[in-house]
């Protein structure tokens, strides 16, 4: 199965800047979310996954990235948003997640990638419970960029949940 979509290395998209941190933003169900660009390993197009049994539905399966097995999480399913069929613009963002036992690599399926912005810590304000799809405990804060609201995510928290970590009790 040849990959028809190119894998973009993060470097391609960076705009020069000196201030604050850079965030990669992506679209999910009409809302714009941001993640620390230093955590983004690469961006891939959607390709088929190998399904893993007995896992939550939002874990679509695993793929092979240069010899490592990486789980792919569908954000829409995760946050109970109506599912979209995967298409040519569907994108998988491969992230480095920090956990108690070290770093893990995971991919998240999103509608599309938006842009890279500079933001300093002050630009990110506390998020009230404003009814976004994403549970606020996974939200670091809100930022305004070009009059748009960007929801900054705490991916360590979001992708280190119990279900992704715990050994199945079935195994014993």
């Amino acid at each position: 199965m040849a990959e028809t979509n190119q894998t973009l290395e993060v470097g391609d998209m960076m705009s020069a800047s000196d201030e604050g941190q850079q965030y990669l933003t992506f679209i999910l169900a009409g809302e714009e979310y941001g993640v620390d660009i230093l955590r983004v390993q690469e961006i891939k197009g959607w390709d088929s996954v190998t399904h893993i049994p007995n896992t939550p539905e939002y874990v679509r399966g695993v793929i092979n990235i240069r010899g490592t097995i990486v789980p792919i999480i569908d954000m829409r399913i995760r946050f109970d948003i109506e599912q979209l069929a995967y298409g040519p613009t569907t994108v998988v963002i491969v992230l480095r997640v920090q956990g108690e036992n070290g770093d893990r690599i995971m991919g998240v399926v999103v509608d599309g990638v938006s842009d890279v912005y500079n933001m300093s810590d002050e630009d990110i304000k506390d998020a009230p419970d404003f009814g976004s799809a994403v549970d606020t405990k996974f939200v670091k804060g809100l930022a305004t960029v070009n009059e748009k609201m960007v929801i900054i995510l705490d991916i360590d928290h979001m992708l280190n949940s119990q279900e992704l970590n715990e050994v199945d009790s079935v195994v014993e």
Binding site: M1, S48, V49, T50, H51, I52, P53, N54, T55, V59, G61, V62, I63, N64, G67, T68, I69, V70, P71, R104, I105, M106, L164, N165, E166, V167, D168, V170, V171, E172
Partner: protein
């Protein structure tokens, strides 16, 4: 200049532990009645090495301790001392103590100094007298006595052959001139006629005058090496010599310097009650350290393979660069690819072999263990070992050590009967425990065979019923009963001996072996004996697998667990309402596991006849996996799911297929567990006789 030699301590510890192993096994081999001198010599040399090394590295307590052992051994090898069982036993304990001391030093851990002192006392007593305390003085240290300058007259007459030992008068004069001001007058009267002159012989003599503040001993020391090869006369000379210019004599080369920083080998004593000599947990030498000794042959082989790989690669790239690729070109490419496959396979095998070591490393602790334990249990037991050269992966070997110990202890404790019991049964008084290892398929098989009492089926059933693992009156086969001993908390020992049998053992043993991808089973016959069979993969990273198709998914079934694959004959399928399907294979009824159901995937067909059954086995149980089709068999590299995800039931890992997609590797035992959870029946394997026949 100060050179830091502590970097060589690691090597010293390694070789010392090896030396201790040798000492121990040779001591056990020693026939007290007719001690073989070569054996004693080997033991002596090992002790001598450790003593020398520890002294060099400043580990003085070790050096002192070993010194007494070495003296005893020296006397034994010279015939000045008889080899007695008592002596051997004390030396064996000393080996243990040394091991503890070195381990404590290496790991900066606590040491039981009382034990050390007690054992040393035993050694000293045996030696008969007070121990000669550390007399490893470096060369005669003479604090230069501040004597005033004196004139020494030295008459130096080398013997004819002094030069033949590589000793050069010039060297000695140089040294003398370091002690003070030297004047030499040569005496050629000893020279023969030219035609009789032998250039290799020394005919010259010297009269030397040395103006020095050093004393006579210092001067003699210069000639220490040639003491037997010359005539030396040193006396103080009266009278003047050269004008006294009593500058500070050049400092003597410090031949005596305090040994390097004395490592604190008396680390905090462990406050133990001297009575209970709890056998200290003994770490095998190859314990979890991250280095491996590889024979140079293996490395050379590897280098050759890589060389061939490079050749193949450049050949292929040449073919690939051709402007046009015609039929002949494609043929060449195919050939080249075939060669590439061969090279890769050979390289892979070669690399795997690097991690392999003979199982003798794991076996070598057993002679001692059996020796000690059998006397403790008052039983007469001999240990037989075979297949010690069988190789396995280093990591696997490190991890199989403890389970092996437990199983052997179990045989000694519960298996082999006491001599009088054996006599009553008409068995030889001496029981035998046999450790055997060999390769079979892609695995290493380790057997622990004893000719003891065998497993008591009734007792086991009784216990199992008591724990709710069996229902009273249930029909169970012998294998099933025997397998029960691997359940948690299971021990039928009446008294919990401190050797084994606290009931925490067998299930942990099985769990550990399983985590290595292996299996352990037991077969037994009452009064004849028991055999524990451990099967382990030769390597942890690669697996021989059978690819199977379920819908659009491909799974890998480990070849080691496959018994056979077959097409379904519907007349052999029985459905037991509420419990599931079984397949009659010859005289057994095997539960059918529909993989698509367990894994929740869409199969090609749901009728059993549209697909195949793959009969697999794990730990005495069999199931038949229903799949759509079989693909090929191949070796796959095992990739962990847990690195970035987590452990999944029924799946032991994943691999990447040739097309880049991921395929899951099935864990048969885990699958059985999954299946049983999904199907309410608790013990599906019991379905066969009672229900299915109905």
């Amino acid at each position: 200049m100060s050179i830091d030699i502590s970097q060589f301590l690691v090597t010293f510890y390694e070789e010392s532990f090896e030396g201790l192993e040798i000492m121990e096994s040779e001591l056990l081999n020693l026939d007290v009645g007719a001690a073989d001198n070569e054996t004693i010599n080997t033991i002596f040399r090992a002790a001598h090495s450790i003593k020398g090394g520890s002294g060099t590295f400043g580990l003085n307590a070790v050096s002192d301790f070993t010194h007494v052992m070495e003296t005893l051994l020296d006397e034994m090898r010279d015939g000045r001392r008889q080899v007695t069982q008592e002596g051997v036993n004390i030396l064996l304990s000393s080996v243990d103590v040394l091991r503890e001391m070195l381990t404590a030093l290496r790991d900066s851990a606590e040491l039981n100094v009382q034990r050390v002192a007690a054992t040393k006392q035993q050694l000293d007593t045996l030696l008969g007298g007070d121990a000669v305390s550390s007399e490893e003085k470096p060369q005669a240290e003479q604090a230069p006595v501040e004597s005033s300058f004196q004139l020494w007259a030295i008459d130096f007459r080398p013997h004819l052959d002094m030069l033949r030992t590589g000793n050069d008068p010039v060297r000695m004069f140089r040294e003398l001139s370091d002690l003070g001001e030297l004047n030499a007058t040569v005496d050629v009267s000893g020279l023969p006629a030219w035609d009789e002159l032998e250039p290799e012989e020394s005919y010259l003599n010297w009269k030397l005058a040395l103006d020095s503040d050093k004393d006579e001993a210092d001067i003699r020391e210069v000639f220490e090496w040639v003491d037997d090869e010359c005539d030396l006369n040193i006396h103080q000379a009266a009278g003047l010599f050269v004008e006294a210019q009593h500058e500070e004599a050049a400092p003597v080369q410090p031949l005596a310097t305090p040994p390097i920083q004395d490592k604190t080998d008396t680390v905090a004593a462990v406050g133990t009650n001297a009575g209970s000599a709890k056998e200290p947990a003994r770490k095998p030498t190859a314990s979890g350290d991250t280095s491996i000794r590889v024979s140079i042959d293996k490395v050379d082989e590897l280098i050759n393979m890589v060389g061939e790989l490079v050749i193949t690669q450049s050949m292929l790239s040449q073919y690939g660069e051709a402007e046009k690729i015609d039929t002949a070109g494609i043929e060449r490419l195919r050939d080249g690819l075939g060669q590439l496959e061969r090279n890769t396979r050979e390289l892979q095998e070669s690399v795997m072999r690097i991690r392999m070591l003979p199982i003798s490393f794991a076996f070598q602790r057993f002679p001692r263990l059996v020796h000690d334990l059998s006397s403790k249990l008052e039983k007469n037991i001999q240990l037989k070992m075979s297949g010690e050269q069988t190789e396995l992966d280093k990591t696997v070997m490190e991890k199989i050590g403890d389970p092996l110990v437990h199983l052997v202890r179990n045989s000694l404790d519960h298996g082999i009967e006491k001599p009088d019991v054996r006599r009553e049964k008409g068995k030889p008084e001496q029981g035998t425990v046999h450790l055997n290892a060999f390769h079979q398929g892609g695995n290493i098989v380790i057997e622990i065979i004893d000719d003891g009492a065998g497993l008591n089926k009734d007792k086991i059933i009784e216990k199992a019923v008591g724990r709710g693992l069996l229902v009273e009156g249930e029909a169970v086969s012998d294998e099933q009963v025997h397998d029960l001993i691997f359940h948690a908390g299971f021990s039928t020992a009446d008294t919990v001996s401190d050797v084994s049998g606290r009931g925490v053992g067998m299930d942990v043993v099985r769990k550990n072996i399983r985590s290595l991808g292996g299996t352990v089973e037991v077969t037994s016959k009452v009064d004849i004996g028991s055999t524990f069979t451990i099967r382990l993969p030769l390597t942890l990273a690669i697996l021989d697998g059978q690819l199977v198709k379920v819908g659009t998914e491909t799974y890998i079934v480990p070849l080691i667990s496959i018994i056979e694959s077959l097409q379904v004959k519907m007349d052999k399928v029985n459905t037991v309402s509420g419990k599931g399907e079984v397949y009659r294979l010859r005289d057994e009824y095997i539960p059918v596991v529909r993989l698509y159901h367990v894994f929740d995937v869409e199969p090609d067909g749901r009728e059993l006849t549209t697909g195949l059954l793959v009969v697999v086995e794990a730990e005495g149980e069999k199931v038949a996996l229903f799949v759509d089709d079989l693909f090929g068999q191949q070796q796959v590299v095992i990739k962990s799911l847990e690195t970035n995800f987590k452990k999944v039931g029924g799946v032991s890992g994943a691999t990447i297929l040739g097309d880049g997609t991921v395929a899951l590797i099935l864990d048969v035992k885990g699958l059985m567990g999954l299946y049983q959870k999904q199907t309410p029946a608790r013990d599906l394997y019991l379905v066969k006789s009672s229900d299915a026949a109905a």
